[in-house]
């Protein structure tokens, strides 16, 4: 299993009562709650954490994009990726840029090609639809989200693979000259990962494109089901998918004992699930963002968030893995065998978790977990048995 280190860069100093009062950490939580002195400290701590994780042997470092929220302070992920590009030895992934939110997708083709060149091909490109709340914040029509995504994607791939200049005549984007410099270092282009909350349209499309599908935070039963659907969609598209095309986005927290781990993680995990994430379906799934069937599926997956969650609830549903080294190894191995994936996108910091605790967690994961999974693949016997 390849275990990547994934950072959301939340505003960890946030006033949780302000989120409760606003109803969500997204869209309507006033940025008057942001203190740049604390924020500056956080940015530097988070970059330190990523460089440290790289030195500890994680497969790669992952940043992502979110807008107008305390959930993540990376509206422009390329700034963080740029800060890391020459400081880390492992892979560098932006998972991902929200294609429908931009008016010129070529800026993303340029930005990713630059990162791929600077890292000499250690870059992984992520394409996402953008989270529902961002359609409220950006004013982009969610009913156009999917066709805008598809057109932007096609344009970026063409810009990376076909010599320019060429003309792009689309419904949403029109360019007389498409001719971006630089072109990607990797040929034909960097690997493409697509994170999704489980929309059927997206799963099918990623399988058809033979890209890597990343399942965002969800109860593990739903993760396993989603990966089953992905494999079915790959078969429908005429091939057998590889476990390297499936990534589970999770969080791991390791302490000496299960009890100590639960006690130490509780406030940060509960803040993450209950305050930083929003439970408002209209905010997260605006109309038209997905087909009605997909919206109903994702609403069902998110049903677990309808009420406040305790740390125990979250662990019981297998959304994150917390415990002693032995417990974490067993749970992650069982998850890998059950859902047959080979990539773990692992957060070591989440919610309000402070810097020192993150460092201890990262060291524990590096010493106790990473070596055990380095050459581990999903148990083949289970595949044959099914």
């Amino acid at each position: 299993m390849k275990i990547f280190h994934f950072h959301l860069m939340p505003y960890a100093n946030v006033n949780l009562d302000a989120i409760r009062k606003a109803g969500a950490a997204w869209v309507t939580l006033s940025n008057a709650e942001y203190d740049p002195v604390k924020g500056a400290e956080l940015y530097n701590q988070f970059l330190d954490q990523m460089e440290f994780a790289d030195s500890l042997g994680f497969e790669g470092q992952i940043v992502n994009e979110h807008h107008q929220t305390a959930y993540g302070l990376m509206p422009v992920p390329a700034v963080m990726a740029g800060a890391l590009a020459r400081r880390i030895k492992g892979k560098l992934a932006v998972l991902g840029r929200a294609l429908p939110l931009v008016n010129n997708p070529l800026t993303i083709a340029e930005e990713f090609a630059m990162l791929d060149n600077i890292t000499r091909g250690r870059f992984i490109a992520g394409f996402v639809r953008g989270i529902g709340a961002e359609y409220h914040s950006f004013g982009v029509n969610p009913a156009e989200s999917l066709p805008r995504f598809l057109e932007a994607h096609d344009l970026i791939i063409r810009a990376w693979t076909e010599p320019g200049p060429f003309v792009h005549e689309g419904k949403y984007f029109n360019f007389k000259y498409v001719n971006p410099w630089p072109t990607p270092y990797q040929k034909p282009h960097p690997p493409i990962f697509c994170p999704s909350s489980g929309s059927l349209d997206t799963i099918r499309w990623v399988a058809q494109k033979r890209y890597t599908y990343c399942q965002t935070l969800a109860p593990f039963d739903m993760v396993a089901k989603t990966f089953d659907i992905f494999r079915e969609e790959a078969l429908k598209a005429g091939y057998e998918s590889s476990p390297d095309q499936l990534a589970w986005s999770n969080a791991i927290f390791v302490r000496e004992t299960d009890e100590q781990a639960l006690r130490d993680v509780r406030p940060h995990l509960e803040a993450y699930m209950n305050e930083f994430l929003t439970r408002d379906p209209a905010m997260m799934m605006p109309p038209g963002y997905s087909s009605p069937a997909s919206i109903k599926r994702v609403r069902a997956m998110r049903g677990y968030r309808n009420a406040r969650q305790t740390a125990e609830d979250i662990l019981d549903k297998g959304i994150v893995i917390v415990g002693s080294p032995n417990t974490v190894r067993e749970k992650l191995a069982a998850a890998q065998d059950r859902a047959k994936f080979n990539l773990s996108l692992t957060k070591t910091q989440f919610g309000t978790m402070p810097h020192e605790l993150v460092r201890e967690n990262q060291i524990a994961i590096a010493e106790e977990i990473l070596p055990y999974f380095r050459d581990r693949a999903p148990a083949a016997a289970k595949i044959a048995a099914e």
Binding site: V27, Y135, H136, G139, V140, N141, P142, A143, E144, D280, P281, A282, M283, P286, P287, G288, P292, I295, K296
Partner: protein, 263 residues
């Protein structure tokens, strides 16, 4: 008062479902797309003296989404084609909410088949600095409470219409609303500059407590359309058809009757 019949009218290859009842001068009623819809007491009252036709908007309420639907003007042109396809003239066009927006856009393009135009809480304009509630944020029930003035009525409507068996339709209708009104939000920046072209007697009806398009919007419509008259219904939000169907029916029937006398 006759039964409501349902038929499908072919408009250049798109089969639009139309509910119809009554006898008399033709009334084309273009529905709002928010909240409950269908044959209610307002439409029933109009059908006592008129031939009332209520089409289901293409892409709305269970009807298939046509490939050509991108914006409200597409629907305005579609309903002009509908009037041609049926050979209708002397039509009293009544539009509520988004239906009013479509009706006004249609009338700026071609008023020649219209005997009159009635706009009820119509969308389509923007008045800078007049706050509007957000119909896309919050659950279905919360949205009804925002747009219906009387809280008890909003709760009753919510109980009646927000049920598991209407979930698919509600999702489709919300998607339809977003497609047409998300950006630019709730208006067409090009509509206002052509409203002077409307060449039909125009009646504007507004709820005094409309939170989506507050009362100044009614005045803006009246001022922008030559000769238009405005009537404001007290204790009424954005859905006069649901909130004050009797008062609305009386106003609209009287307005249409006056056109006939004048003609």
């Amino acid at each position: 008062m006759g039964e409501w019949s349902r038929s499908v009218v072919d408009v250049r290859g798109y089969g639009v479902a139309v509910s119809e009842a009554g006898d008399g001068a033709p009334v084309l009623l273009l529905d709002d797309v928010l909240g409950p819809y269908g044959r209610d007491s307002f439409a029933q009252a109009l059908s006592a003296r008129h031939r009332v036709s209520i089409p289901t908007h293409p892409g709305h309420d269970g009807s298939p989404l046509p490939e050509w639907l991108d914006n409200v003007s597409d629907l305005a042109n579609f309903y002009l084609d509908y009037l041609s396809a049926r050979g209708l003239r002397g039509v009293h066009l009544v539009g509520c909410g988004l239906g009013g927006w479509i009706a006004a856009d249609l009338a700026t393009r071609d008023s020649s088949r219209l005997a009159s135009l009635t706009l009820v809480a119509a969308g389509g304009l923007r008045l800078n600095g007049v706050p509007q509630c957000d119909i896309f944020l919050g659950g279905d029930e919360e949205v009804l409470r925002k747009i219906i003035h009387d809280r008890a009525l909003a709760d009753r409507v919510a109980t009646e219409t927000i049920t598991p068996d209407t979930e698919d339709t509600r999702l489709q209708n919300q998607q339809f609303a977003a497609r047409l009104m998300w950006q630019p939000r709730l208006h067409d920046p090009n509509l206002r500059k052509w409203l002077h072209r409307i060449d039909a007697p125009t009646f504007v009806v507004w709820g005094a407590n409309d939170a989506l398009y507050p009362a100044p919007y009614g005045e803006a419509w009246r001022d922008a359309i030559p000769g238009a008259r405005l009537e404001v219904i007290a204790d009424c939000g954005h859905l006069p058809r649901v909130e004050k169907p009797g008062a609305l029916a009386e106003l609209v029937t009287a307005f249409i009757a006056k056109q006939r006398v004048a003609a």
